[in-house]
Amino acid sequence: MKILVVGSGPSGVHFAETVLGRGHEVLMLDVGHERPPPVAPDAPFDELKGRLGDPAAYLLGDDFQAVTLPGGTGEYYGLPPSKEFVLAPTKAWSVKEWGFSSLSSFARGGLAEAWTGGVYPYTDGELADFPIRYADLAPHYEEVARRIGVSGVVDDLAPWFPAHGHLQEPLRLDDHSERLLDRYARRRAALNAEGCYAGRSRLAVLTGEHEGRGACTYLGRCLWGCPHDALYTPSVTLSRLLAQPGFRYVPFSYVSHCTWDASRHVTGVSVLRSDGTEELVSADAVALAAGALSSARIMLESVRRASGEVLVLPGLMDNQQILIPFVNLGMLGRASDPRSYQYHQVCLGFASADPRHYLHAQLTTLKTAMAHPVIQSLPFDLVTGTQVFRLLRSALGVANVNLHDTRRADCTATLEPQASGPARLILTYHAAPDDAAQIAAATARVKAALRHLGCLVPPGMVHVRPKGASVHYAGLIPMGTNDGPLGATPEGKSREVEGLYFADGVTFPFLPAKNISFTLMANAVRVAEAALA
């Protein structure tokens, strides 16, 4: 059987790997912007600036596009130039948004090429609105952990991060993260009484050899892209797939829509070439794994081409994110080691009466992040800001808080046909009625926990990121419900078209407050196995 997979992100590559493992052929279509090769791959971050001929071009961009000027986005660290390929646009993609600021990727590996490696299975409580249980995903979490390599431990957060096998030793803790966990150990009873638990992040980062990839060597270059792929990204799997005989990868392929016959059986997809021409590519089955927004757009366009009808898909979801900077008083005046893992190593989990409303915060200690975005945001002149920053630098951290989201009728995706060229995707997002209260309550809980951990939150510096900034999109073609004009079976099969599968988050009927990528991968394996069964 020839199966066509659209997209090379976490869902696409793990769907493809499963299908190939069963002896079928896979044709993967993708726009496929490529990652640039790493510069000075063996240089630690603290030596990089002295070793590069033009360090400003590498760290700030050829046109200084990574400089955060006053009055900018309010972010404390952004996408570095070496990862710009992840968000590089493609001509055919057009989107107009209300209340939403989406980011789309047409890169090999998709948005997860710029992820921070958090690997967090969903619990039964979080899956309450899904037509599947944790037990349905558990073997696939195991399989994905085996494929990608995951490091971590089973600790106080285990009730919210169910344990799975293939777990490597955790990463070496940086001094700041170690102090946070020490403090937690001393204040555990008080924190637990408030429903707050802390533990090690579970990360798709190797601490030992794994299928030809080496362990993390603590170069401190995580933000700019791991030069040795110790931090897993989907392009690692894509490289492995390219070596398999039954796999064919066709880049520069922007899939416009799916096609099906009179009996509503899928026949293939239409690919838009850069010269504006369309080419039909046939297949026995099609798996959409282009990411929730792209897969929804492909389905909207498919229906428009087939029937002339422009559908409105309800249920657009995104994890609202809040950035809470903090100063760990226990780290004041101490050294900061740039040769350490740079993303979050510690997580906070907050239990709720409704298990779907678990609140998740990742504590990132800032060691090699650029200084100027923080300095220019401080309430001082820039000389004082620099002095204050240097005095506090080793004590600085950011809690990245994720909130859950639910499907709502007024959060939609539809199309706006254009006079020429592809139709435009229209996204509309309305915050939930209790949105402000939810943000305030979450911020208060995290601030209180940080106080227990000996940290201060500077007033006026909490940043609520815009809706859509988390890049965790889901919900437009839900599985197991009839809520909306398009839907999917619990196995991820299209309700309307035979031979069409949804391998990405477009089918998730609820969005828990956790990084979505690990579940995307596990669910893609599950959908692939069901499709082949």
Binding site: L60, Q376, F380, V383, T386, Q387
Partner: protein, 146 residues
């Protein structure tokens, strides 16, 4: 002299680097600072923006006073954007990146230094208010007349 002339930008880079890290900029930093002006929205300055830049170019202490004033009353001023660009370049380059490294100290020493930094901020803010407050008012009045 044009706002973007190489000579003016080099002079700015020297004065502003002295203000920010108390040192001379390398030739690479000066070149990148000029390059940044071709890519980022750092010109043209008009009205009070010109006054701020004029004062800031007068020397490191003037730079600090002008910036302290701008932090309160013109947060997105071109002066602050220029200084932020320069910080970004300085921290990206060796050896000036050392000027952004953490300062090790006893906790009490850190608190004392923070207090000193805060005092400095107040002094320069007051100086900025005294020098630039009336000029800001005059430029607003002038703008109102035209």
């Amino acid at each position: 002299m044009s706002e973007l002339s190489a000579e003016r930008l080099e002079r700015e880079a020297r004065v502003f680097t002295a203000a920010l890290i108390g040192d001379e900029p390398s030739a690479y930093v000066i070149r990148q600072y000029a390059h940044g002006h071709m890519s980022l929205p750092l010109a043209p300055a008009a009205g009070f923006e010109r006054v701020l830049l004029f004062v800031a170019r007068g020397g490191p202490y003037w730079t600090r006073a002008a910036d302290a004033y701008a932090r309160l009353f013109a947060r997105r001023a071109i002066l602050r954007r220029k200084l932020t660009l320069l910080i970004a370049i300085l921290e990206s380059t060796s050896p000036s990146d050392a000027a952004f490294a953490p300062i090790r100290s006893f906790p009490a020493g850190t608190v004392l230094r923070l207090a000193l930094a805060g005092t400095g901020a107040v002094v320069f803010t007051v100086a900025g208010l005294v020098v630039l407050g009336p000029l800001h008012l005059l430029s607003r009045l002038a703008a109102g007349r035209t």
